[in-house]
């Protein structure tokens, strides 16, 4: 049973990737699993300089979902390169540098700074609903999304994965725009913009009022968008949104995802990724699948 995949040129031991923002910088989980068995690690979104994130409550639970408004708190590219990346080098796992910028130019500079040995690809977050600059605004307008993509491409030799926002009327328009602008792959979905209210205090639960919804609650929306985008573009797709089991992962691949990411499941249990990877393997075996790649985009309509 083959579980290895090649995703925009990166060789991975499994199609199951740790999603940005839910796996820190990887080493935090070294005692919970064999990091060498993880498909790849998309690290917490990196800014050119450190970001402090949002004030107040940053996480809330909703029905089968999680709302977060971390606001991209991160130690910045420099700390990543000097502290985390060297420590990750003792593991045989591809590192995807998830990154953000406050404006188009900064996206380019951040990309350039992250184009170093040890980083396998860039994942460009144009879809964070929790920051006023550098967030969703870039991912909801196809033209701006294309500009960011082109700027990042100009500044790196690494494969560029553009991460799309689901908070749009037509996800295929954004997908086509970033493909045309040179994206090597697309990842989707980032979180849906949502809100929680504490009726007793009549206040928003989250410090930032709104937050991004993730987890099984959004899986139907994510699957639909992966399927729509698969029909709209030719570049590879990394699918995510509510994957909690190996069968969920298989569903995303059947819908058209070449690889998948697991986010909220790791928040719920730090050992989710090895469990899901094992379940996907067992699912393949039980369904006479010899090569996990062979199920990609096999949805029968």
């Amino acid at each position: 049973m083959n579980m290895t995949v090649e995703f925009c040129g990166i060789k991975m031991k499994s199609p199951v990737i740790a999603a940005s923002g839910t796996f820190g910088y990887g080493i935090e989980y070294k005692d919970y699993m064999d990091l060498n068995q993880v498909g790849a690690i998309s690290v917490k979104g990196l800014g050119l300089t450190p970001w402090t994130g949002n004030k107040g409550v940053r996480i809330a639970e909703t029905a089968s979902g999680v709302l977060n408004c971390i606001g991209l708190e991160n130690p910045g590219v420099e700390k990543f390169l000097s502290y985390y990346l060297p420590r990750l080098k003792s593991y045989d796992v591809p590192i995807i540098a998830n990154m953000v910028g406050r404006n188009v130019e900064e996206y380019g500079k951040t990309a350039k700074a992250l184009t170093v040995p040890g980083v396998s690809a860039l994942e460009v977050n144009i879809s964070c609903p929790n920051v006023t600059n550098g967030g969703m605004a870039f991912g909801t307008d196809p033209k701006v999304a294309a500009q960011v993509t082109a700027e990042v491409k100009r500044n790196t030799t690494l494969p560029v994965i553009v991460k799309l926002s689901p908070n749009v009327t037509d996800i295929t328009a954004v997908a086509r725009a970033v493909e045309e602008a040179g994206a090597d792959a697309i990842s989707l979905i980032n979180t849906l913009m949502g809100m929680a209210i504490d009726a007793r205090t009549r206040r928003p639960v989250l410090g930032n009022v709104t937050g991004g919804l993730s987890g099984p609650a959004i899986k139907p929306v994510a699957l639909r968008m992966v399927w729509q985008v698969r029909k709209a573009v030719h570049i590879p797709i990394c699918g995510m949104g509510g994957i909690m089991t190996g069968t969920d992962a298989a569903e995303f691949m059947i819908a058209g995802a070449d690889t998948v990411q697991v986010g909220t499941a790791t928040l719920a249990s730090p050992n989710a990724i090895p469990r899901i990877t094992g379940e996907l393997r067992k699912w393949c075996e039980a369904n006479q699948v010899e090569d996990v790649n062979s199920i990609v985009n096999t949805l029968k309509i």
Binding site: T22, D31, I59, G65, N68, G215, P216
Partner: protein, 255 residues
Amino acid sequence: MTGMVEKGIIIRHEKMGPDIWRMVISLPLTAKKAKPGQFIHVKINDNSRLLRRPISIAGTAPGKGLVEILYRVVGSGTQLMSEMKEGDTIDCLGPLGTSFTIPEEGEILGVGGGVGIAPILFTARRAKPGQMTVVIGGRNKDEVFWKDLFPKTLKQLIVTTDDGSYGIKGFTVSVLPDVMKQGTVRQVAVCGPGIMMKKTAEIAGEYGVPCEVSLERRMGCGTGTCMACVCDRKAGGHYKVCSDGPVFDAAEVVL
């Protein structure tokens, strides 16, 4: 300090007060590693609930592989926890976080309010006989069951209630100066409402005694990766309560 996911059988589950429950769980690995101040991150037994609930460890019996917690039903997750039965399996991630300092020499003063008494209880159970003085506060006499859980070997146990229905009427902090004045306390450990921790730290500071506080924040991962649980460092920037804490030197965090 890395925790682990351990599933254990609920050995005992009993109601202690109007809305407070005590649960003893068979978690041999956690019981062996746990230190006072650390917590377990408890999975709620319902598929619609994804986030775990942080609950302080109130005691362990490492020989028997048991972990004890005390929790108050405040919302839907703790409500669902309270409906679990003895014999059910519960999924716990832990032990997580930093712990209270128990000095080799010298006395400790433990101050606890509400369910914040739980980690103080665990500290008292690990302290040497005669080493620890404990001041606990509750709303009224329905909450003084706590006192019976403390070891008899404490130097002293002082109970206050907001309404005076048991022990000393008033707040825990009002009795602290009297204890500190004796000059024997070398370390203060406090867990409870924010104002109580702030005041306790101030009083300890006046006597030049180090004080550790246990902070509460809404948590995601519990493992220091999601950045949900941050608190402000006095030196600027953030600490993560789940992994840099929950126990902090009061001098290092903004209370």
